[in-house]
Symmetry: C2
Subunit: 303 residues, 2 copies
């Protein structure tokens, strides 16, 4: 198996005129491949998924970040998702035979280069964090872009790279390394954001919910519904069916139906296996017993 690095940068834009040039920068980088991108107005946020090797992944991340910093002015940005800057967060994720250590190294190189290139302060998070509290993205992002100029002057808020001063239009960037996680959004048949917030709290690790889950509520006014956005950092420990069924249970209290759900970004195969195995009581279904994976592995061995 070769080393494949996945990068899932989050940019603070949902303007198609800005989205396209950012994607173009990744596409034009040799050996970098965009797998997916999603953006919407209620989060006002672009999430791109791309893969590459240890060199191309950094190049593509730097090219796209430079374009975003050029085109996005955070002073004009509003949205329901917390954010610190134009290039808000840039996680690197090991796939294939790549390790989390490889991705820590990559995040450091990317962070240092970005700070030098664009004079944006950069924080390291996740497995790349330089202090324990900084492994938590929420801790770093506290106060968001609006409070950044004030927060960044505090000694414990000094960035890992770049100036101790917010970039006037691009704020700051957080980069780091983490394992594959599942982003999963569940739509509720209510426009009442208060109900959605209560349900999100029931799930959220810091509020007593599942230890590997972060959840937030957002309104989708044009559809007159609300959405629970979840990040499941370890979907092997906390399978998605459990998250979904807990949301259903909490929503029943308010007679609110769960109307649909969607993966934010790509779906990990293991998360689908766990869902199918739960509802159909399937014994012993593993990734290598899925035809497409078994064939792929047999062909790789043959090479």
């Amino acid at each position: 198996m070769i080393k494949v690095i996945e990068c899932v940068p989050n940019f603070s834009t949902s303007d198609p005129q800005v989205v396209k040039p950012i994607l173009d920068e990744i596409e034009r980088t040799a050996d970098a491949h965009v797998l997916d991108h999603t953006y919407d107005d209620y989060y006002n946020r672009l999430v791109v998924t791309f893969v590459g090797n240890e060199q191309s992944i950094i190049q593509a991340a730097l090219h796209s970040a430079a374009k975003a910093i050029e085109l996005i002015d955070m002073n004009k940005h509003t949205g329901q998702h917390p954010r610190l800057g134009a290039v808000d967060v840039v996680p690197f994720i090991p796939l294939g035979s790549a390790s989390i250590r490889d991705c820590v190294e990559i995040a450091r190189k990317f962070g240092e280069s970005l700070a030098n290139q664009s004079h944006v302060p950069v924080y390291l998070y996740g497995a790349a964090a330089t202090r324990p509290e900084r492994s938590d993205l929420d801790w770093i992002r506290k106060g968001e872009f609006e409070a950044l100029s004030e927060m960044i002057t505090k000694p414990d808020r000094n960035p890992d790279f770049g100036p101790s001063k917010a970039h006037p239009t691009a704020g700051a960037t957080v980069t780091g390394a983490r394992p594959v996680m599942a982003g999963f959004n569940i739509n509720l048949g209510t426009s009442d954001l208060k109900i959605a917030k209560k349900i999100a709290q029931a799930l959220h690790a810091k509020k007593g919910g599942f230890a590997t889950v972060k959840a937030m509520a957002a309104a989708i006014p044009e559809r007159k519904i609300t959405q629970i956005g979840t990040s499941i950092t370890d979907f092997r420990k906390t399978p998605l069916y459990r998250v979904f069924e807990l949301i259903k249970l909490e929503a029943e209290r308010y007679s609110v139906p769960v109307i649909s759900s969607e993966f934010c970004g790509l779906a990990p195969l293991k998360s689908l296996i766990d869902i199918a195995s739960h509802y159909l009581k399937i014994d012993n279904l593993t990734e290598d017993r899925v035809i497409e994976i078994a064939v792929q592995e047999a062909m790789e061995k043959a090479e």
Copy 2:
């Protein structure tokens, strides 16, 4: 995408001393790779899944068939699954860029070579059938090994290749081409085979069940349970959750619990996506939005 052919031969044995030499014959064939094999005493049947290219798949199928014919005596064989011979059925299935026409051609070559090599009568079924009624495996297998000597002399039962005479120890072989199907077994918490048979009938296409489903009931005495074995020829039209939920519904009538289930052979990714999408109400989840597949496709494009 390259052409990959899958072959899922069913042999009439569950004797480890016979299973191993059969598998060895496939493994020793260049460019043929065993992905999976399952066998058990109650069906007294070995199901092997292997892949190869257009040449190696025929070679591996012929090698393993010769070994099975050498070692299995159908006169001593009993089992709950219908069977016509030692090498009971040998379907060829297109994967990657291979087509069903490629597999029809392969089945014909295999059938002719097997008849010449081992003097076993061979029938063509599925997309390779030479008469409409022969597309149905059950039609060909009617009367099973025990009635074969009598049936084979009838003009409409003439084999497509080989002598119009049952092989004394190996019976006959059916080979053909078909799309990927799902084999799915559901275990019931009852030892009452009559109940299991009623439930199987509710599912079976010919009894008014789902048009793409074949179902049969079998006893698993050592576990004091029964099993519904299903073949879902088009799991895109008839998703597995629907089959599972119908079994649950019918079983409730008898207060019988569904205790577990398992794929027989490998699981097609699409079948897992459909299960997850149903229970979690996921919108728009497709195969190319699963990480492992998206990465694979990006890497193939890059080559």
